[in-house]
Every structure is written in structure tokens, then in C-alpha cells.
Amino acid sequence: MTGAPLPEPAASPTATEEGVPSTARPPQPRWRQTLVLLARNPTAAVAGTVLLLIVLTAVFDEAIAPTGPNEIAVEDRLQPPSLAHPFGTDDLGRDILSRVILGAAVSLRVGFLAVTFALVVGALIGLLAGYYGRWVDDVLMRFMDILFAFPAVLLAIAVLAVRGPGAGNTALAIGIVYVPVFARVTRASVLGVREDVYVRASRSVGASDWRLLTRHVLPNAAPPIIVQTSISLAFAVLAEAALSFLGLGTQPPNPSWGLMLAEGRGFIDLAWWLAFFPGMAIFLTVLCFNLLGDGLRDVLDPRQRTLMAGSGR
């Protein structure tokens, strides 16, 4: 070895530095690893399964629902839960189960739209503010502070007052309220990642800002944003319910859980099931999103990941 000008690497003792067993499993994509780990967390697994069922229900609403949502049968009005109407009927004789199922579609659609809007806009603002810092950060984040300082309901009402009610506008209103939340979470996460050595290392080989942002900063800053998304979905479903309850969201006769809750309020002493089942639907969905968020938080923690995946080091 000594003195050899070009020791062939394969034969040099340094090349025998082991540690990577050749029989090890093939590498797994990150997302699949996340799913596997999530499945091992019982609470999150149950929550995820229930959510999946709820989403499937919302997607196949018309196929699943026993009757149309707005089919009025006056003779069946205010029926308590029975075999024919498992969740009972409302004051117009409409089947509540069907309305809850179809309401899922409305509530979740508004929730997903709102969070998607907040995520895209908020994460972009947070990414730019966190990555570029200085005046970009100052300007964007002060703007976010102002938005954040408005009472959420007031802001949503203002948006709806200007643009008129409806599912799309409800989603927009809720989305705007959540933009600062995502901006803050993203900015904080990006600030942490931006200084990581591997980002500097990539810059040292000539990677552009765009490349650094999309290939290194964003993927590594993502975990808290994913968790925030899951939790915000819960809040968005609640917010939709609240706005509909106030008469600003979904408009009758279309069902949405919040609207049904509002409508059932007047009959609470007479027919509890009117408010109870949509209330339970909201409760279950929000709970599951929150539990899933907690589970993701654990699973996406790299230390947890190493421990649980049992690899390396």
C-alpha cells in the first residue's frame, strides 16, 4: 500500500470500511416508509382509516345515500331514528342520513379547498420570507401579522359580504384566514433548514436558488407543514360549520354539516337527532384529523424515524 501512487480503490484497505450490509433491504421511498410507520401507530392508523371512510363516503355520496338530499316527504317529518331512517328525518321529512352523507361532500370540499388555498399561498409566502430573509421577510411577515390580527370570523364575514355566499367563496374566506398560519409555520421551518449544512453544500456545487428551494429546503421543511395541514383541515371543517351556522356559508336547501346543525337547533328539545348526527359527523372528522396530525408529527420526526425504522447508526 505504502508508496503505491495509485492504489486501486477497490483493493485499498479503506474500501473495506463496511457498515452497509450488502443484504439490506432495497431502499424504500420516503412516503411509503411514512405510511408503514404511521400504520404502526394505532391511534393514527384508526384515525386515518376512519377519515378514509369519510372521504370515500363524500366521494360516492350520491351512490351511497339512501335518498336524495332534498327529497321532501312531509308525511315522514321529524321521524326519530328507525330502520327506514337510521338517523331520523327533519322537519321537512328529509332523510338525515342522506343529508349527512351529502353534507360530507360539501363540508369536506370546502375544507380541502380552503386548506389547499391556505397551504399554497401561505407556504409560498413563508418559503420566500424564510429563505430570502431581510426586507422580503419583513414585508411579507408584517402583512401576515396584519392579516392575523383581524378576528378570524370578522375577516371571513367580510370576504363573504363582498363576494356573496356559496361553497367556493366560503372556502376562499376560510383559506384567507389560514394563510398567515401556514406562512408562519413554513417560515419557521424554512429558517431552520436554510442554515443546514447540506443546503450550503448544494450551493457550493453551484445549485441555483430555485433548485435549493425545491430539492432541499422544501422537502426538509415539509414535516411541520404536513402536520399543520392535517390540523387545519379539522379547523376548516369547523369553520365551514360555523359560517353555515351563521347563514353565511352553504345556502339552503343544500346540506352541509354546519347548516344542518343550525337548522336542527330550533328543534333540539323536540327532535334531538336533527342536530346530533351532523354534530357527531363534525366531531368525528375533526377528531380524526387532529389524531392523524399528532401521528404524523411523531412519524415525521427524524429521530423517531431512525429508531423505528431501525436503520443505520
Partner: protein, 370 residues
């Protein structure tokens, strides 16, 4: 702050321009060269207005030449600015003054595109192999990033071939290319980091404390690898380390930094065995060697106190507050590097004759730390 307008003349007053340490090496042999290089950071007070309240002189007037094909060791204690200097030479940190020349081109004014070209020709190996690799990207993705960025090998296959070649070059099995960093040991990760740095076929490599986080037995493996690569590929290396033994081992020449300034530079044998600057002497005497008999008899020069803050650099010779030999001219004249000792050896010390720029009144107001 009064020195900003007259930046390039870090050594004026009484010294003819030709004596300014361009004499380190003949110009044509030089690949990387710094002249009066400064990296000053504003020290900001908290609060919304973030007013600058002072200046942190991380690198403060460095003159340094790095020859083609040599390994220059850069040593100094934590906070002396050696790492910032390494980053500034590659413009990973923006210099606030002075010039950096790479292969004859001044890189301080390069635009985005030219800078990208520089990134291909000059790479960096980082200290912590656990932090310098993106945990979410495979070894292949990491090593091929420079290829993609510079459009060096188009096509998946060609790139895969090049990655395999690079991994073999650093002593890794190409079969591990699709694994993630956490599956590797520290030494292996450092090899991946070296492979990434070599991907663009650079002429110049900065190794910033590249072995500091490794186990002793693994350090030797990586040191051998760096030496082998340097010879095999004809690389020019800047080996930044606080480990004087390692620097002595790999370097052709050694530069010593103290408080943002290169205070001694010369052939490794000369600087290592016959240092001319009191600071270098103290630094070398403090390095413990693994021979009990030598350790017992060795005379350590124990310095007084701590390194002053780079935000309050002493006037004149910046080492004078801790120097056992400090005398009258030290606070008043900022010493320039001057030839002393062996051929090619330069030291900034008035003990060898008072050479340098007299301190101006305004600077005397700067309080000497401690």
C-alpha cells in the same frame, strides 16, 4: 471603519509595493490568491430597527496565495476566521473588501453565470458528514447534483456511470448509490461528501475541518484518501483544520491565522519545526503528542487569557495582548508579513524588524480586549 476607503493598501507606509507579499510565490504558479481580503459582519442590536452597533472582523485583511497542485494547510483556533476565509475564497460568503483571484480572474465581481462556472472548478468538503448530506436524498442524487447543475453528463446512463466512477474513486462500493445517508457511517458519509465535491472535476478543493468529526482510526483513512486524490487528480487543496498534526501531515505549506489575519505562512517543514511568529510557537507547543517521554519534557508556552473578540480587535499587532514578547511598536504598527526564517517563510511580527502600517489615531480608540 476608517480603513474602508484605503482597503487595498493593507501594508502601506514605508513598504515598497513590490515587497507586499505577492512574493509568496511567482504569479503564474498561483491558482487562488487573496489580497487584503475582508469579511466584516455588522453586529446588530436586537429590536425592530436592527441598528448596526459594531463590526465583527471575521476576516480582516488576508493576503494569501495558493499554488497549483499544492496542499495549503490553514490552521488557527476557533473564531480566528479560517472557515470564513475558506468560504470567502469560494464566494460562499461575500467578501466585504479586497480581492480573490481564481486562475487569474477576479471572482469578487462575478455575475451569477460566471459564479456558477466557478462552482464547478472549486468545491468544498464540509466538517460534519452527518449534516452535510441531505437526509432525504440518496447518495446517487447527492453525488449527481453537480452533474445536473452544470449539465455535465446528459442522460441517465452516463450520469449513473459517472456516479459509479466517483464512488469508486473515493473507495465506496457503487452498489450503495441508492441508499440514504443515514445508512452510512461517518467515514463513509465523508467519502460521499468528497465524491460530490469532485463530481464537477474541480481544480480546487476546500476541506473545512473535514476530519474533525470522525473517529481517530477513520480520520487516517480520510486523510490518506485526500492525499491520494490530490496526487491522482492534481488537485489544489486548502486544508482547514485546528488539528496541527493532521495539517502538518497533509500540507506542503501551512498558513496560520489569528483574529482574522494570516500571521505566518511558509513551507510545512519550516512552519512546523521552526515557527517565527510567537503565536505559531505557542500553538505548536500546545499540541500534545502521544509519546509520554516527550510529553513530560516538553516546554509548553501557555498563553495568557483568551483570544479577544473579533468585534474588538487590538490595535497594531492583534496578538500583542497575549504575546509574551510584546514591546513598544506592537500597539502602534500593524505588522505586515515579512520574509523570515526559511525560504518562502513569512511572518507578521515586529521581532524580525518593524514593518507595517502605523496605526492611525482613530483606531487607537478601539479598546484592546481584556
Amino acid at each position: 471603519m476608517t480603513d474602508l476607503p484605503q482597503r487595498p493598501t493593507a501594508h502601506a507606509a514605508g513598504v515598497p509595493a513590490s515587497d507586499v507579499p505577492a512574493s509568496q510565490v511567482p504569479a503564474s504558479d498561483v491558482l487562488v490568491s487573496a489580497r487584503g481580503l475582508e469579511v466584516h459582519f455588522p453586529v446588530r442590536a436586537g429590536g425592530a430597527l436592527r441598528r448596526a452597533t459594531g463590526v465583527l472582523r471575521a476576516v480582516d485583511g488576508v493576503d494569501l496565495d495558493i499554488r497549483r497542485g499544492e496542499t495549503l494547510g490553514l490552521v488557527g483556533e476557533s473564531g480566528c476566521g479560517k472557515s470564513t476565509l475558506g468560504n470567502a475564497l469560494l464566494r460562499l460568503v461575500e467578501p466585504t473588501g479586497g480581492t480573490v483571484t481564481f486562475d487569474g480572474t477576479d471572482v469578487t465581481g462575478l455575475d451569477r453565470r460566471a459564479l456558477r462556472a466557478l462552482r464547478r472548478r472549486a468545491g468544498m468538503v464540509f466538517q460534519d458528514p452527518f449534516a452535510s448530506l441531505d437526509p432525504r436524498r440518496t447518495v446517487r442524487q447527492t453525488v449527481s447534483e453537480p452533474l445536473e447543475v452544470h449539465g455535465l453528463r446528459s442522460g441517465r446512463r452516463e450520469r449513473a456511470e459517472r456516479v459509479a466512477e466517483l464512488l469508486e474513486l473515493v473507495g465506496l462500493d457503487p452498489a450503495v448509490a441508492d441508499r440514504y445517508p443515514h445508512e452510512f457511517s461517518g467515514g463513509q458519509r465523508q467519502r460521499v461528501g468528497i465524491a460530490r465535491a469532485l463530481a464537477g472535476e474541480p481544480d480546487f478543493l476546500v476541506c473545512d475541518e473535514a476530519i474533525a468529526s470522525l473517529d481517530v482510526s477513520v480520520q487516517a483513512q480520510v486523510l490518506n484518501l485526500l492525499r491520494r486524490l490530490q496526487r491522482q487528480l492534481g488537485l489544489t487543496l486548502l486544508f482547514i483544520s485546528h488539528d496541527l498534526s493532521a495539517v502538518r501531515y497533509v500540507s506542503d505549506r501551512i498558513a496560520v491565522m489569528y483574529l482574522g489575519r494570516v500571521v505566518e505562512v511558509g513551507p510545512a517543514s519550516a512552519v512546523g519545526s521552526d515557527p517565527q511568529m510567537p503565536y505559531t510557537q505557542a500553538l505548536l507547543s500546545a499540541v500534545p503528542v502521544p509519546h509520554p517521554s516527550l510529553e513530560r519534557t516538553r516546554q509548553r508556552i501557555v498563553l495568557r487569557g483568551d483570544v479577544p473578540s473579533p468585534a474588538a480587535v487590538p490595535s497594531g499587532c492583534r496578538f500583542r495582548t497575549r504575546c509574551p514578547y510584546a514591546f513598544e511598536p506592537c500597539p502602534d504598527v500593524d505588522p505586515a508579513l515579512q520574509p523570515v526564517g526559511a525560504p518562502g517563510q513569512l511572518a507578521a511580527c515586529h521581532l524580525h524588524g518593524v514593518v507595517g502600517r502605523p496605526v492611525e489615531r482613530a483606531e487607537e480608540a478601539v479598546p484592546a480586549a481584556e
